[in-house]
């Protein structure tokens, strides 16, 4: 096994391209190192991307925010402008693991680990986040939603690396929120996650909405029916009920050690509704 610590992304991509065995990208390492402990883990190459210039930067531009692939989640919560713009995304990122894990884990890594229960992914998808992917042929931008394809699998080629995640500049009257259910208050994996991002007009009527569930299907579920229930309405009991019903209906989980199908379906509705209320409030809406 080799460890490489390149200083340019081109170099990193080249190392991955030329590796002749299993190769892994190391950013925060909070998932990779756990896998490395397994007796069946095998790798030819580990490429640490933290020495690449800019990887640890959050950049605010006219279009929004660019979050380097090596930015630890704790740094998101320390970035005032980002917290103000995308509180739901930041909350989701800050729910991953413990304080110690926060010091290391990244939203790019959370995305590439492709766990159905990843906390930051539903929030990023709701926020229309995009990933900048660099490979031998240069860079491309894709929707974050298109990165994970199945549990543990992504659409990235073996010689591609996420360089950064981009979040758009939020509209004036918009808000996002992420809630998850875990049995413990911390140090837990989402049994259900729900993210909502919406914009309002001056009357408080929802103009656009995205409702996304995590941990209830192999990948995140974008609940169009819940969004449709919100758009054109204020947040009243009927709307909330419709959001809840749509989320429960869209939930397609399995029974496992963390929760039952019945439990997840029900809680998906509850969290979808509650996240919608928080997002609505953040957008300036009053119920």
């Amino acid at each position: 096994m080799r460890y490489e610590n390149p200083t340019t992304i081109e170099n990193a991509v080249d190392l991955l391209a030329r590796s002749d065995g299993p190769a892994y990208v190391l950013a925060g390492g909070t998932d990779l190192l756990v896998r490395m402990k397994g007796d069946d883990f095998d790798a030819e190459l580990v490429v640490d991307i933290k020495s690449i210039a800019g990887m640890d930067q959050i950049v605010e531009t006219a279009e929004g925010f660019t979050i380097g692939a090596a930015v630890p989640c704790a740094a998101l919560g320390e970035h005032g402008a980002l917290v103000a713009a995308w509180p739901g995304v930041v909350e989701a990122a800050n729910l991953i693991g413990s304080t110690q894990v926060q010091s290391r884990c990244t939203i790019s890594g959370n995305l590439c680990n492709a766990s159905p229960a990843a906390d930051s992914v539903p929030a990023m998808v709701a926020a229309n986040a995009r990933a900048r992917i660099v490979g031998p042929g240069g860079a491309r931008m894709i929707d974050v939603a298109d990165v994970p394809t199945a549990p543990g699998k992504t659409s990235l080629a073996r010689d591609e690396i996420i360089e950064a995640i981009s979040l758009p500049k939020p509209d004036a009257r918009s808000g996002d929120a992420y809630l998850r259910f875990t049995p413990r208050t911390e140090m837990d994996i989402a049994v259900v996650g729900a993210a909502v991002n919406l914009t309002l007009d001056d009357e408080g009527i929802v103009q656009t909405a995205r409702v996304v569930l995590g941990a209830v299907a192999p990948s995140v579920v974008v609940v169009d029916a819940a969004a449709a229930a919100l758009v054109g309405n204020k947040l009243n009991d009927a709307t909330l009920k419709a959001v809840e019903a749509a989320c429960t209906a869209a939930s397609n989980p399995i029974d496992d050690k963390r929760g039952t199908v019945e439990f997840r379906n029900q809680v998906a509705g509850v969290l979808g509704r509650r996240a919608a209320e928080i997002a609505y409030g953040r957008a300036g809406g009053t119920q």
Partner: protein, 754 residues
């Protein structure tokens, strides 16, 4: 000199103060050495290969490729641990559990082990061991295991305790029964009957330090073992028996121990480490991974318990019956029996019967866990008591007070009680402000009582007085939670010197006589007894030396508050001699001054506690938060109150974790699905409120200072206290521990449908 352990009321100076613990600095600076913090020259690294099957016959085991790997110095299997147990079934279970002989009996059962020059080689070697299994049908659930068509674990197990003796083997290893009176007649007299079945899931002690040891067998038949254990003398005995070593030639040193809670009273992989060292001819370090700890050490029983209570409308419980089924892992043991004994111990019952069934299943060998077997029985009984209170419209504290056992009550497990503390804890609970504090929306309050036997046992203490008059005490009872501070306080009290002049250590097995392990809440109770006795023996010597220095008869020398004083006017106005004065002359008055004690500390006295718990439940998700918690327990005498509080708080929180989220989750394949701290959810800091404590001090008549064991009882009431609080908040009875969010939501949904 015979030691009189009986209680004498006296003013205490040191005992009862909150001094700084002697091992504190080592532990806050990272210098304290735990099981994995010790190394020997030339040490090898051990790894254990474990069964991936819940139940499988080992058809073929080929270690030749692993042995041929460069850097591998030994590979052992059951063949390297020949059966020397001579018909001792308990010892054989330890042997078979340490290394599977013909069958792997649970997911994680050891089948082979390697010792290599480093971890990478050991890991590679493990992969080269070939094991061919014949997978057998398995059973992990307690109720499924007693079904007539259940897969049989062991065809040598025939249910004991039934008449006539069965002719067919069974997964029920033993039936036991306790009680008195006529339960049928009692039920006939009752106005109300509550009858329910309860279940509790298997939990792990969850000590943060994995099992770890360094074993060294020398060519001359001597051996050393450095190990984290609750009882190094017991480990020495068991390992010597299993390996055919002379007891005196195996020296076991107990490291600092990173939590045990019963799980480190049992021998696990230590015989394997010794066998590897014996075969390799080099020291071997064996440290379990966290996954191994969950899969192959610890846990407590999973249970299924039927309770039937009958009462008259005035709140008199006329009859109580419980049938308790406890898993013991794949080996016969006595966990259900203990559960049956404790189930109704808090109450004064005219008619009571408790029947225990010991059930073998394809799960890890059950280990003691803090008041082993009592919390599950208390969950069932205390839940039923709460329901009974509702049924007769009586306050649940009043109902418990009305039926509480007291001095003279015949206990449900047999003997008549002497002075006991259940009544005072209930009175304190009734009067506690927590009991009457207002509750908000979706909040509920529960209470429960708990009982545990405490133990004493064989104990040694060596007390040596240095030339400067300061004192060291060496004890053989492992310090798991601050007992060195308590014992130093005790020595200071007896000798009449400042606490700071005493230093306590835990000695290895070659330095003292046999000591029982730190279990049964016996650590401070027993070792304090031995320390008092040793100190009194030292005082006798100090008086003799003072007499010699003064050239007066020893009868005329008194020991008062740390000084030898010449008695009466005939010796003039001699200035009292301090320990330091006497110690300074020791070389000329007969040599070093010491006090020793080897004794059996018996008569520990049973223990009771009452807990009050408030929870808030989210009715839409089943999420439960404990928002207030109070522990009331009798300590006899709190030697170091801060560490008594710590025992109360720690036990309560373990019980809260058990009640809310902790459980072993098995798949259809019989494999454990959550062998890690991420999915085996012990409480984290943000899950909890402060845990309030109230220490009652009702002196134990069988200890000079009235000390009672305090370590275990605090885990007994929380399961029921939490479940009762959830039931109160949601108005739905929770009968399955843990009351996890899916179970609560399912119960609420079922109620809504009715």
């Amino acid at each position: 000199m015979t030691f009189d352990p009986s209680y004498k009321e006296q003013a205490l100076k040191s005992v009862g103060t909150r001094v700084l613990r002697p091992d504190g600095v080592d532990k806050v600076t990272g210098r304290a050495r735990y099981g994995a913090d010790f190394n020997m020259p030339g040490q090898l690294v051990a790894r254990v290969l474990r069964s991936p099957h819940a139940h499988a016959r080992i058809i073929r085991l080929d270690t030749s490729q692993a042995e041929a790997l460069k850097g591998v110095k030994a590979v052992v299997t059951a063949a390297d641990l020949p059966d020397l147990t001579d018909g001792d079934t308990a010892l054989f279970a330890i042997l078979d559990n340490s290394m599977a002989r013909s069958k792997a009996k649970y997911d994680g059962h050891a089948v082979a082990a390697v010792a290599a020059i480093n971890a990478s080689v050991a890991r590679a070697a493990m992969k080269l061991i070939e094991v061919e299994y014949e997978v057998l049908p398995h059973v992990v659930d307690v109720d499924a295991a007693v079904a007539p068509d259940a897969p049989l674990l062991d065809d040598t197990i025939f249910t004991t305790g039934v008449d006539p003796a069965p002719t067919k083997p069974s997964n029920v290893a033993n039936r036991s029964e306790f009680g008195h009176g006529d339960v049928d007649a009692g039920f006939a007299k009752s106005d109300v009957i509550i009858e329910r079945t309860y279940k509790t899931e298997q939990t792990h002690q969850g000590y943060i330090e994995p099992h770890a040891c360094v074993a060294n067998c020398n060519a001359d038949g001597t051996a050393d073992l450095w190990v984290c254990t609750q009882g190094h003398f017991v480990y020495r005995q068991v390992c010597a028996d299993l390996l055919g070593l002379d007891v005196s030639k195996l020296r076991v040193t107990s490291s600092e121990i990173g939590g045990g809670f019963g799980g480190k009273t049992h021998v696990w992989a230590e015989p394997v480490a010794l066998a590897l060292s014996r075969k390799a001819g080099r020291p071997v370090k064996l440290v379990m991974t966290r996954e191994e700890v969950f899969r192959a050490s610890g846990p407590t029983s999973a249970t299924s318990i039927d309770v039937k209570l009958g009462a008259t409308m005035d709140g008199t419980i006329t009859s109580a019956l419980a049938t308790l089924r406890y898993t013991s892992g794949p080996y016969a043991d006595a966990w259900a029996e203990t559960g049956a004994m404790t189930s109704f111990a808090c109450y004064d019952l005219e008619n009571v019967k408790a029947i225990g069934y010991e059930v073998v299943v394809n799960r890890p060998k059950v280990a003691a866990y803090r008041a082993p077997s009592a919390p599950m029985a208390a969950f069932a009984v205390e839940s039923a008591i709460d329901e009974l209170a509702d049924a007769i419209d009586m306050n649940s504290v009043e109902l418990r007070i009305k039926n509480a056992a007291q001095e003279g009550t015949r206990s449900s497990y047999g003997p008549v009680y002497g002075p006991i503390g259940i009544g005072p804890t209930l009175d304190a609970a009734k009067a506690h402000p927590h009991m009457s504090a207002p509750l908000g929306k979706n909040q509920g309050r529960g209470m429960a009582c708990g009982f545990w036997f405490n133990f004493g046992g064989q104990t040694c203490s060596d007390l040596n007085i240095g030339a400067d008059g300061t004192v060291t005490i060496a004890v053989g009872t492992v310090d798991v939670g601050g007992s060195r501070a308590s014992l130093s306080l005790i020595a200071a009290e007896e000798l009449g010197i400042p606490y700071e002049h005493v230093k306590a250590i835990v000695a290895d097995t070659s330095s003292l006589g046999y000591n029982d392990m730190t279990d049964g809440s016996r650590g401070t109770f027993s070792s304090s007894m031995a320390t008092i006795s040793a100190a009194r023996n030292a005082i006798k010597t100090l008086r003799e030396r003072a007499a010699m220095m003064w050239e007066i008869p020893v009868e005329d020398v008194n020991w008062e508050e740390g000084f030898a004083k010449a008695a009466g006017p005939k010796h003039g106005n001699r200035a009292p001699l301090s320990i330091k004065d006497i110690a300074a002359e020791a070389g000329n008055t007969g040599g070093p001054i010491a006090g020793h004690s080897e004794l059996v500390a018996d008569g520990a006295g049973v223990s009771f506690g009452t807990h009050i718990c408030d929870v808030e439940v989210d009715p839409e998700t089943g999420s439960t938060r404990v928002i207030r918690y109070t522990v009331i327990q009798d300590a006899g005498k709190a030697v170091h109150p801060a560490y008594v509080e710590g025992q109360y708080q720690g036990g309560a929180v373990q019980g809260i974790g058990w009640a809310l989220n902790e459980e072993y989750v098995y798949g259809e394949d019989g494999r454990l699905q959550n062998p890690g701290f991420l999915d085996y959810r012990i409480p984290v800091c943000s899950d909890l409120p402060m845990i309030d404590t109230q220490i009652l001090e009702i002196p134990n008549p069988n200890h000079p200072y009235g000390v009672r064991g305090v370590g275990e009882t605090s885990i007994v009431p929380p399961l029921a206290a939490v479940a009762n609080a959830v039931s109160d908040a949601m108005n739905v009875r929770m009968t399955h521990i843990p009351v996890s969010p899916p179970r609560i939501l399912a119960a609420l949904n079922a109620q809504a449908k009715e």
